[in-house]
Subunit: 459 residues, 2 copies
Amino acid sequence: MLIERLRELIPADRIQLDPAVTASYAHDEAEWAAYGTPLVLVRPRTAEEVQQVVRACIEYEVPVVPRGAGTGLSGGANAVDGCVVLSTEAMTAITEINPVERLAVVQAGVVNDHLRNACAEHGLWYPPDPASAPWSTIGGNVATNAGGICCVKYGVTADYVLGLQVVTGTGELVRLGRRTAKSVAGYGLAGLLVGSEGTLGIITEVTLRLRPQRSPEHTVAGYFSSLVDAGRAVTAVGAAGIVPSALELIDRHCLEAVDQWKKMDLAVEADVILLARCDAPGPAGEEEADAIRDCFERAGATWAARSTDQTEADALFEARRLAYPALERLGPVLTEDVCVPKAAVPEMLARIETIGTKHETLIANIAHAGDGNLHPLLITPRGDHEARERAQRAFREIIDEAIALGGTVTGEHGVGLLKMDGLAKELPAEVLELHRAVKAALDPHGILNPGKVIAVDNE
Amino acid sequence: MLIERLRELIPADRIQLDPAVTASYAHDEAEWAAYGTPLVLVRPRTAEEVQQVVRACIEYEVPVVPRGAGTGLSGGANAVDGCVVLSTEAMTAITEINPVERLAVVQAGVVNDHLRNACAEHGLWYPPDPASAPWSTIGGNVATNAGGICCVKYGVTADYVLGLQVVTGTGELVRLGRRTAKSVAGYGLAGLLVGSEGTLGIITEVTLRLRPQRSPEHTVAGYFSSLVDAGRAVTAVGAAGIVPSALELIDRHCLEAVDQWKKMDLAVEADVILLARCDAPGPAGEEEADAIRDCFERAGATWAARSTDQTEADALFEARRLAYPALERLGPVLTEDVCVPKAAVPEMLARIETIGTKHETLIANIAHAGDGNLHPLLITPRGDHEARERAQRAFREIIDEAIALGGTVTGEHGVGLLKMDGLAKELPAEVLELHRAVKAALDPHGILNPGKVIAVDNE
């Protein structure tokens, strides 16, 4: 019935029923998150087609699960049985890049890096840089409020969303937010949609604030023999009033995995590496870099230096980027995303180590240390069911410890499915009730990505 | 009945019934906005007392109108007949200033400048700087999403709100948002409350993101003989990739009023003055200032210079600050707050001039030109009823023209009462309906600042 209705409403080539195809759109990259079998995959090209799909879903009471590139790590884009999966991959128009207003208007399916490159041609810069930037879409970035490496200075996706075009849970196609530099005309509904993971509306177009291209970055590396020393270095950078444009931590397990794969001998030299970047203009940038190096040294770095050539600097950040695929060679990787107060980073890393030992689980750490956003990576031997169960217990304990230290269960990946239990631990019942009230107000038919973020009574 | 209940719930000295006192809490500084007679004024000291007041209001179905210092310019804090006015003026604790996490926790009634001074003692900076900063409260700033002069580089109040403690429309005392640098744990409800003018919850405490103290500012002044030239200068600064920390416009009417009052002879030299500041660190700051001066000159400034001493620089900004009181000497001032795309600033100023002529109303302009946020100031002779009606017609036409140019009816002052009609023109019916759905979800009893921002059916 729904399929026939869809065929009346949108072009036939936008509708895909082949189970071999729809299966590949049934989940994101979250390890071990449950997913169902979609009824149909639709790939609309326009906001109006998205609206038609949502209206049909309302009419036939069929859930709709929106997705961008499916690079999410929390299961937020995972299908439920019998749903419509709505992929924005065909919505790739960069509608406007406006140097005077410093904004861009893009369809939801535009890939993050494509936008960044298009902006660069106008001397403009779109900062949010999740690791998935070569593949992930702006719509997905907005739906999960994606972070990245430069957040520590430039903020997250939410900080760049001026306006959204959205199909609501009642099938209306609306514009929320603004194009002007400022506006307080009405409630901040665009901001409410950011990070709501498709549960409050389906994003079809995004108006983004841009910045002028920044000055070239300087890179500083520090090798440390303990997590405590590295943590002290992070605190020292903050206390010195420096705002680096990146401040990343890579632990021994990551270094060993990269070494094994790429023969880099990093773990021979360091137990923990901190990588910082800074981009203040002119001589101030060099002063900033030197000041960061001094902070590293005073905190006990066994080696610290400002990288003077770009190739060397890029190689160091490449080691960070390689950590994840290097670890994946060892087995399935369950990715954590807790965020704790910056001062609690060393303690949190110590507790993660203890949890790994207790549950006999290899846990490597990369971290946006300057933000307190940790990505413990839990690696299990392929096919080892008991190891998987141990890892899942460790995952839950990491969440508990993050909350105990005043942190949050997800810094930038989203709640999706993997963090629903964690969210219910983090937020008191009264706040969960507010979530349900907002969900009921904006998705009265309960068809928008049901079963994600919060448990709703009628499900 | 309600009064007796309040006496059971909160200390007697927190309750004020004297009509002479309550009357002075019945409205904010919006010219000609309607207000009613409060039943009672309460001045709680704690969040728990606020909660008790709201619970009593729910029980007795009495509306509660929250207010900070009452410096608002849209009537958002105006009493309705028989309401409880809840002033946060006794909630003045700065609970925490944390240099490591770079955040502050303050009660809602803390005055903006007090917080800024307290932060400075720790080498930290709270940027949002509304003109009311010496008197207005952080709670009020958050409730209206206040702007200011440095927004053009540093953003508005919303950009600094990490978390809120709020009493909800169901009388729950909850914490929304976060203390960590990042979090996507659940919906952005703290952000939704920002700018909601007390209609979705009453803010009792705010957790604010801070920045390190910035480098000293450089000031650049430019004198122009036409609005078009000044507008071109603003566009040129943007096109040069410069982000000034202030870019303010003062028109001839303001200059004349300041001249009349302070004998400054500004209007002899210029028809329009642009004042810019920039704060890039080190030599880059001087380069920025010189580049701005060059932009001014190329756009046709009759005189432009980088101010080399702080006294001279402060005097120029003082002239801007004096514009408002100088105009008030001429009669009641109705303050506009439209925000248009930056490129539309000269056209909007031209249309404002036309509207002033048409309605025989003196309209002076100060503007956050770098943001496209204009403050046309409509001045009428005291007691001249017809002049007032002409001014109100001009006010409505300015709103219409701002919308026609792709702008918004309020950039930073809020909707309150004065912009409710404008909001209904700016937003389509479907978006107003979303507002009502959210309002009904978070204020199911309809007691929170009723009649503000949006018209609700049951009122």
